[in-house]
Symmetry: C2
Subunit: 383 residues, 2 copies
């Protein structure tokens, strides 16, 4: 049906009505006092969301633009970096680093498996000359639904002492705790169309004093993504270039909603939805791509057997008006991914799991008891 | 009054209600067939607006991001470039070029004066070794309201034969004719919050086959702004990174409105508003910053005497709810700028000029006959 699609992809995610309506207001001048107040309020609330006193900068770019800025502002050509690569996005940060002439040492894991913190420890401990300048890690790997063990990897980075930790938190920030100050995360990138509950178009970077010190001597070329002017302008509640003012209205409204819900409640909700979704999928006897103990709070990847992933997506979309994500790269056609990130409520989880059951029945998959998936999800949601 | 501000700044510009409401729709998946249709339609209409068969790519960035992409994708470190610099934006492109290690030869003119095409001819004719790889020109210099003579400068670039012409058309595209194919403009950058009548957040680049040939050997580092993947994805009606889907809804709606109005009507409207505004300012005996024959169709800069520019802006904003732009850099506090770009009708011009008269009267400026400015504007609008 027209206008009926329910987004359960890992971004864009659903947007609350009050956020959509805030966005539909007439633009205002971006150099006005009124707009500066919005920048100031949004920045304060972003610090709250990041659990940090570090600068949190707002860029007009997709999450990839923010991550590129988070890499190139603190490094120089030839610098050695460790990059965790166990999915499409980890792989992308290695590509970015190579595009700028950094010496990349990739620490890989199979797609669907988590990065091994021990591999980081070994590489960092072997670097007695302290030549590794940064470690780049994707926290929630969106392509597989795996949550890497950032806390442990970061502990090894801290033991190294020299390297910066640069984190892709695009689908973890706002879904689970990313305690920037407590863990001492130097650079953390995220994007608006994820946990933030607003449409794509803005991205965010928190930057630590240690990273700013590295910025002073970093020599990779940059202009639009040069974070120095962003920092300087943010101190005056403005931006170096014309910002998407309507997306700022949306950001202001969404952060107000998030503060009202509270961090612990937001994280508990995502954890509950993750567990309910996984319980339902298991009760349908469909294999999950990754193990439970490293499951992302944002997305669940399913590797169906005896029924085609793309057929499931097609029926879900056409009959039940639910958009699921497919697989990427070599997982294309093999998995489907259920997004449960951002503005998602318990009802959405039941709608998705019940529709998935009906879809499986329609496709002739008979390896489960109809109703078992929804019952399993309900049990988690009620617990 | 709350919600009453009329934007007469050079961006963000006013946005039609149907565009605001299109933007307030729920996001859709950016990898869906439905979204591809929007990308395809918008791209076709962008080509119409650019009067070109070249690729027109859509970036999630401010105009500065697009211009940076338009420079770095086609050049290598050490390449010689001519950059026209007669205002804040021309100066910015020289800064971008220098940030990437290009050998910049600036061709300057005083702010408020146009670039001299002869200076370009001289420099290009002297380059018998054909070492100048690109000429970067700002068409409408937003900081001063001067329209540079792109047509003549471009003729000299064409006579050189080797150099690319890279154009900042941020406040000229959609305000006056920028015939990309007829003139053979290689790279043309623009931004959504200008003639496009949509909020900031998108920018556009048209790219010629000659520029794509230069892309093949250009070696400046890039990833988010690497236009190759944009081109490859555009051919499949998609984008390399998550686009701001709601701004695409707005783009689709605005381009539909522009096509209904027609290019000639749009350009005639901007020309009429420019002439009416200048006639009104002259009738108030306020000096204009630049001469009539190089006046931008987007913006009129006024250099008031016997009354302070910032006081004028303050009364216009507080009493009449009209936002005017101030001066930038050394012109700060000395000029004010009236934007008449994008979704502006004749009534807006009369509202602005009559409010300006009332403001001058309130500030004790008596060097004009009250009513003379509005009468002069009306005469132009009716002619």
């Amino acid at each position: 049906m027209d206008d009926k699609m329910m987004l359960m992809i890992p971004g864009p995610t659903p947007v609350p009505e009050q956020v959509l309506l805030a966005m539909a207001k007439h633009p205002m001048g971006h150099r006005s006092g009124e707009f500066s107040q919005i920048v100031a309020e949004a920045t304060e609330n972003l610090k709250w969301l990041h659990q940090t006193q570090n600068d949190v900068l707002i860029l007009t770019a997709s999450g990839t633009g923010a991550m590129e800025a988070g890499i190139i502002n603190f490094l120089s050509a030839g610098d050695r970096v460790l990059v965790g690569d166990n999915g499409k996005f980890g792989n992308r940060w290695a590509q970015v680093a190579r595009a700028y002439g950094l010496a990349v040492q990739a620490i890989t894991a199979e797609w669907g498996k988590p990065l091994d913190p021990e591999a980081f420890r070994t590489a960092l401990e072997a670097d007695t000359q302290k030549q590794i300048k940064a470690v780049i890690v994707t926290h929630s790997e969106t392509s597989t639904g795996v949550l890497n063990d950032l806390k442990t990897i970061n502990r090894h980075v801290k033991a190294h002492g020299e390297a910066l930790i640069i984190v892709d938190a695009v689908t973890s920030l706002g879904a689970c705790s990313v305690p920037v100050d407590e863990w001492g995360l130097d650079v953390v990138g995220s994007g608006s169309q994820k946990g933030y509950m607003i449409p794509p178009g803005l991205s965010f970077l928190s930057v630590s004093p240690k990273a700013w010190a590295a910025y002073e001597t970093a020599t990779l070329p940059k202009y639009y993504l040069d974070l120095g002017p962003y920092r300087k302008n943010a101190a005056k509640q403005t931006t170096p270039f014309t910002p998407p003012v309507n997306l700022f209205f949306a950001l202001q409204a969404a952060l107000t909603m998030m503060k009202a819900e509270g961090l612990e409640a937001i994280f508990a909700r995502h954890d509950r939805h993750k567990r309910a979704t996984r319980a339902a999928v298991k009760a349908m006897n469909l294999p999950l791509l990754g193990p439970d103990d490293v499951a992302s709070p944002a997305i669940t990847a399913v590797l169906p057997q005896q029924v085609e992933a793309e057929k499931i997506r097609s029926v879900m979309k056409k009959q039940f008006d639910i958009a699921l994500a497919g697989g990427q790269e070599h997982l294309k056609g093999k998995i489907f991914r259920i997004g449960h990130l951002g503005f998602v409520c318990d009802r959405n989880i039941l709608a998705a799991t019940s529709s998935l059951e009906a879809t499986l029945m329609q496709l002739g998959y008979d390896q489960f008891n109809p109703g078992a998936g929804v019952a399993a999800a309900s049990a988690v949601l009620n617990s």
